[in-house]
Each structure stands twice: as structure tokens, then as C-alpha cells.
Chain length 414, copies 2
């Protein structure tokens, strides 16, 4: 039986046909994808997914968080379920691979196991999780499924409360179903997700498979440098309290400090808003959007201390006031050691070159990690492009990833 | 006669009563003024001004550019006219002194001369010029009066074409009257303007009167640093093309270079607009608004060369593209030597401490300078505040300025 399982492979032709069909739903003219959660394209994609699952002879199910599952009852009666999944939603004008690859691969894994007719130690469930990208609220489906979604998370949805309410209603959901969609952790054998790396490391090192060790924690801040508005013609330059200078010097200092002291971490200044923001007035205020990411809480704490010290120093240097507001803090998540081992064993058996790496992006897996053994498989992203039409993973890498998912799932559901 | 003229002084009580009455028209709760050109407050102020002129026994006249003049025919028949003026419009939420002081003082000068009954070598005209602050288009009235207004200047008015058209119509004007309001330069003996300094130099040096030597030229640019949008979590910091870095480094370099190499000039980065401008994406593009001001074309040319070189260097340093667009260029204007001399003589006679300085702000005088002998008198601004409710000039300084205007006008119209 062990050997019979080991020779199973995904049906690459069927896998590709499905992936291409899915890529057409919400396709943009430049070869990308526009399929935000609850959009028409997203709903069409979910409908297509259920059609495929039913054609494959799988059961289908939608939970209170809108998660769309295909089920294969291949385990013992009352046995646990191993979840394989990702998400069908995209960022606006995103790429074809982010999320979609993992969902189509999970479906393919279930169909291959079903066709082989094997019984395993766990049932298999291929799940498309709701709004991973946070069109309304990040990780809505995976947080709902873990029962860790709290009312605060959905209080101020990005698209506005009214649009969110209508989107839920159209999908047959409401706040009540979202907040009561939690599953019993004892019913879950684990969660396994295939995803593109979205960064350049695998491709640059010639690795086929990345085994994710952990997902970074993220902290985001609004930092306001406060000076004084002055006439740009009549105020000598050495008499100004110019908010531009503090914001500019801080942006450069952040980059330098993080690159030299925290080479495994990243920090980004994504925006600045100037006030009054006109040619002929010295800016009174600049509000800067900054986030940083690191692998563990110790590094996050150290970076926060260091970057806030830099902000105070640069504000002080230019005589400016400083106002710091933390907007969000998402904790780092470790992937399960046993799951990492199973992925490595699968890759080795398939003759694939693999490496261990952390994920700089957030994923549904970080929500599942606290309640069940969780792991992620990365495949290479050409040039590291992501969240854009340039997102690309070679077809061979997609197939390698799907076979690794299949074999790792078989090892975990043994 | 010379001595009789020399003892003339403005009526300080009447001057103050008028100034306070005018300050109430469009007053803001914080002690400032909101009286943009063509607003209801502005039209009320102009109506009030004509009432005052008529009560003083002066003729009134409105030209095709909407300039409101009070006339005293104290010169020989067919003789030239010496213009004394400034503007009654303010920036939104501006101060009480900018412009208004010069108009009320000019009216007071005409009334004093009329009451003294003297005949001079020129007629006197106290003029309130239209839209100095550029609510629709900078220096609309003074450019119209010189005949130098071209259709391009009013093609894209700041408030929009339709609002501008209606504002003109309500004021009994149109594009045609604007473009044909030019006066014959031979009919003008000169233009003299009393204005607050809007900067801190006079107050800090304890000077009563500033004699303006020239008005700076201004060049303004949109400078775009162009990088690449990347995922803020998965793109290593040394692999980014982050537009923030070029824009930030350039802002700091501009300040350093201008302060060390062009200490009499100023440069200002007034705004930056980020794209896409969100927390979790490395900015693809930053468009920076920059202007600089210097006293002569040589300095302006040198600064432009130098600052564009800095922009290229900083873009290159961070691997960014660069796109530079000049938006506006206003040439520097020299004040007439004879007018400067007359102002100095007037100040000396009044026992006032005076100095020579350039104006870092633009003024109607720069439009008049090419067609007639032009000069400006500055009085101290407390702490240099301007274009804000904090704008303040001590009442004694206002009276000193008005008496200097009176005496300089008498010297020039002798």
C-alpha cells in the first residue's frame, strides 16, 4: 500500500486544463486577473470550482464563512479531515497563480486519490478560503473556520460596512454565520497549502520546492512628522520647520538600518501624505505609512524599538513634532515540524531540490497554524513578481508543487 | 512748497478706523481673513472701498480687468498718473494685512493730498488690483492693466473655466475686457506699493522700512521618480526599485545644496504623491512638487542645472527612472533705482530706520515693473507669519509705512 501510494502523480493535463479555464474568469487584457472577493468574477470562479468538484464525484459544502469545500470521504468513519487549500480571490489587477494554483492543485489531489480508490487515515478536503487578500477583511474565511474571528476584525471592512453587508447577504451569509463558522480542532488532521513564493529566492537558487518554516509577523504604523506651514518664498530655509525633511530622512534611515541590522527582515514606507501639499507652502505635516515584517516576536520588538528611536531622532534633528499610531499587528506563525518533514520527504521522493525558507507574505496558513498541524509548500515565482499581471510560475514548477502536495498529503493522512 | 509737502502726514486715526472696518469684511473667527477674489466678501470689500473713496471726494473707476481705482486729479491736465496700490483679495484663511494695508494706505495718501490742496506733477490713483493671490489666475488685474495678459494665462483658471466665466460675468467683465485693459505706459508716472514683508528679516534686525530691490523669479517643477511596485513582504530590500528613496534623498539634497551654495535663494518640496500609496506595496512612483526662487536669471539658471543634476544623481543611485516637467516660470523683476532712492529719502526724512532687501514673494509690482518706474515699501511682519491668521504688523509700523508711501509719492510726483 505504501508503495502504491508513492507512485501516484497528479494528472498534469487535466490540472492544466482546469488552471487555464480558471485563469479566464476575471482575466485582464494584460494576462493578469481581477477577482476580488465577492466580485462577480469571484462568484463565477467559485461556481466553476463546485462544478469541477461535482464532475470529479466529490461532495461539496459551504460553511458560514463562505469557504467552499470539496470533500473526499477516504478516511475512517468519524475520522479527522486533512485540509488542503488556498483561495480563489485575487487582489485588484493581480496575477493568475496567487491562491488559484493551490486550490486547483488541492482539487486535483482529491480526484487522483479518489480515482486510485485508496482508503487513508483521514478524509481529504480541498478548500477555497474566503477573502484571503482582504478586499473587505484579511483572512476572513480562514479566521472564520478557526473560530478566531472576532467582531472587531469585521467592524470596519475596507469596502465599507454597507457594501460588506450586501456582499455577505448576496453570498447567503451574515455576521452571525461568520462568527459561528469555527470548526472543532479535534476534527482536523492538519492544513497544507501550495502557493507561489511571490519572491525571487527559489528561482535564483535553482530550487524546485520551498518548505515554509514560518510566516512573518507584520506591524504597521502611521507616523506623523509635524512642523509649521510657512510661505515658501519669504521664509529663509534655516528658519523652517519643514515636515518633508523628517519624513524623508526617516525613510532613508529605515532602509539603511534594516538592511544592515535585520537582513532577514523587511520594512517599507508605502505612502506619505503632505499637508497642505501645495508648491508654495512649506509642508506643515507629513503622515507616513510604514510597515515592517520579521520572523519572530523578538525581532519585531527590537525593530519597533529601533525604528521608533530613528523616527524620534529625525524629528528632533529638524525641530519637528512626532505622533506615532500603531495600526495593525499580526503575529508571526511557525509551521508544524512534522508537516515540514513530510513535505521534505515528499520532495525527496519526487527527486526535487528543496530548501527551507520563511514567508514574507501573510497566508491563510498563519490562521490555521494555532489550531492544527499546518504547513506550506512554495514553488518558484519568475523574477519574484506577484500581485501583478507579471506573476508567473513555470508549468513544470506548478506540477512539481502539486505532486509534492499530493505526496505530502498522503504521508500526513497515512 | 517743498517744505509744505514734507510736513504732511497721514491721519492715523482715520487710517486705523478704515483698516479695522475693512478687516471685518470676510473676517474669520481666529482673527484672520477669508476673502478670495470674486467671493462675496471680496465684492463687499470693493464696494466698501468705493464708498470710502467717494466720501473722501475722490473719483472712482473700474477698468476691464476689474481693477478698482480712486483718482485724485492733482497733476497738470493731460499729465501722467502715479499709481499707488495693492490688493483687497486674500488667500483662503489668510491674514488681515497682506494687500489690504497697501490699499487703505493709498486711499489715505490721496485724501491727505486732497485735503492739503496741493498741485503736483502727476495725478494720483489708489488702485485695488484684481486677484493678486491667484484664486483664479495670479496677478490678473496687474497683468491686465499692463496689457501683458495673454489668453494662455487665463485658459486654465484654478477654479475651473465655468466658475471663472461666471465670476467675470457677475463682475461685469469677460475675457475680452480682460485682454484689452492695457494702459498706455506713457500715461503712467510709476507704481508704488506698500506691503507687509511676510518674512522675519525686518523685525529681527529692528528696521522700520524695507526698500525692495527686486522680486524673485520662481520656477516650479513636477519631478517623478519611477521605480517598480513590489510586494512589501516578499521582495528583499536590496532588490527593490523603491521610488520613495529617490524622492526622499532628493528632498534632503535640495535643502543642503541650496543652503550651502545659494544662501539668498530658497527651494521648497511642497508635496509628494505616492503610487500606489498603500502600506504593503513598494511605491512604484513618487511625484514631487518642487519650486525654487532666486533674485536673478543667472542664479535661477544655475540652480535649475544643479537641482536637475541632483535629481538625476539620486534617481540613478536607487535605480529609478526620472521624469521632469517644468510647470511655471516667473521672471525676477528689478525695482526702479529712482523709486528706491525716493523711498530711502522719505524714510530718512521721517527718521525711520530702513534697509534694502529682496522680496521672496511675488507681488503686483513685478507686473508693473516692465512698463513704468516701480517700487515697493515693506513694513515688518511679526515673526514673519503670513497667509495665516497669525499675520501681524504693529500699528506703528503700519503708520510708518503709510507715511513713507505718502512722502515717496510726493517726491515722485513732484
Amino acid at each position: 500500500m505504501e508503495n502504491a501510494l508513492a507512485v501516484l502523480r497528479v494528472n498534469a493535463g487535466r490540472f492544466r486544463t482546469r488552471f487555464d479555464a480558471l485563469s479566464a474568469i476575471g482575466a485582464t487584457p494584460d494576462g493578469g486577473l481581477d477577482r476580488p472577493a465577492f466580485s462577480i468574477a469571484h462568484r463565477l470562479a467559485r461556481g466553476w470550482y463546485f462544478e469541477q468538484a461535482e464532475q470529479a464525484g466529490l461532495e461539496i459544502r459551504v460553511d458560514g464563512a463562505g469557504n467552499h469545500s470539496a470533500l473526499l470521504r477516504c478516511g475512517p468513519a468519524g475520522g479527522p479531515t486533512l485540509l488542503l487549500g488556498s483561495h480563489l480571490d485575487s487582489v485588484p489587477n493581480g496575477g493568475r497563480f496567487d491562491g488559484a494554483l493551490g486550490v486547483v492543485a488541492a482539487l486535483e489531489v482529491l480526484q487522483v486519490v479518489k480515482e486510485a480508490g485508496f482508503s487513508l487515515g483521514a478524509h481529504l478536503e480541498a478548500v477555497d478560503l474566503t477573502d484571503e487578500e482582504g478586499h473587505f477583511a484579511n483572512f476572513l474565511g480562514s479566521l472564520g473556520m478557526t473560530g478566531m474571528l472576532d467582531a472587531g476584525h469585521i467592524e470596519n471592512p475596507r469596502g465599507g460596512r454597507e457594501r460588506f453587508r450586501r456582499a455577505l447577504e448576496d453570498a447567503g451569509m451574515d455576521e452571525g454565520t461568520l462568527l459561528s463558522a469555527g470548526r472543532d480542532p479535534r476534527s482536523l488532521a492538519g492544513y497544507l497549502e501550495l502557493h507561489i513564493e511571490q519572491g525571487p529566492r527559489l528561482a535564483e537558487h535553482g530550487d524546485d520546492i520551498g518548505i515554509v518554516t514560518n510566516i512573518v509577523g507584520i506591524r504597521s504604523f502611521k507616523i506623523r512628522f509635524l512642523g509649521r506651514a510657512d510661505h515658501a518664498g519669504t521664509t529663509p530655509m534655516d528658519r523652517r520647520l519643514d515636515a518633508t525633511l523628517g519624513a524623508s530622512a526617516f525613510s532613508l534611515a529605515v532602509r539603511e538600518r534594516v538592511m544592515s541590522e535585520y537582513p532577514r527582515a523587511v520594512a517599507t514606507v508605502g505612502n506619505m501624505v503632505f499637508e497642505p501639499g501645495v508648491f508654495n507652502v512649506v509642508p506643515r505635516s507629513v503622515v507616513l505609512s510604514m510597515e515592517f515584517r520579521a520572523e519572530d516576536e523578538t525581532a519585531l520588538d527590537a525593530m519597533e524599538t529601533e525604528l521608533m528611536r530613528l523616527a524620534r531622532a529625525e524629528a528632533g534633528r529638524f525641530g519637528l513634532g512626532l505622533d506615532v499610531q500603531m495600526l495593525d499587528s499580526s503575529p508571526p506563525a511557525s509551521m508544524n515540524a512534522g508537516v515540514q518533514e513530510a513535505i521534505g520527504e515528499a520532495a525527496e521522493m519526487l527527486g526535487l531540490r528543496y530548501t527551507f525558507l520563511h514567508s514574507g507574505a501573510g497566508h491563510d496558513a498563519q490562521c490555521l497554524a494555532p489550531i492544527c498541524p499546518t504547513g506550506m509548500i512554495f514553488v518558484p515565482s519568475v523574477s519574484g513578481f506577484s500581485h501583478s499581471a507579471k506573476e508567473l510560475t513555470s508549468w513544470q514548477d506548478c506540477v512539481n508543487g502539486a505532486n509534492t502536495l499530493l505526496q505530502a498529503a498522503l504521508l500526513l493522512a497515512r
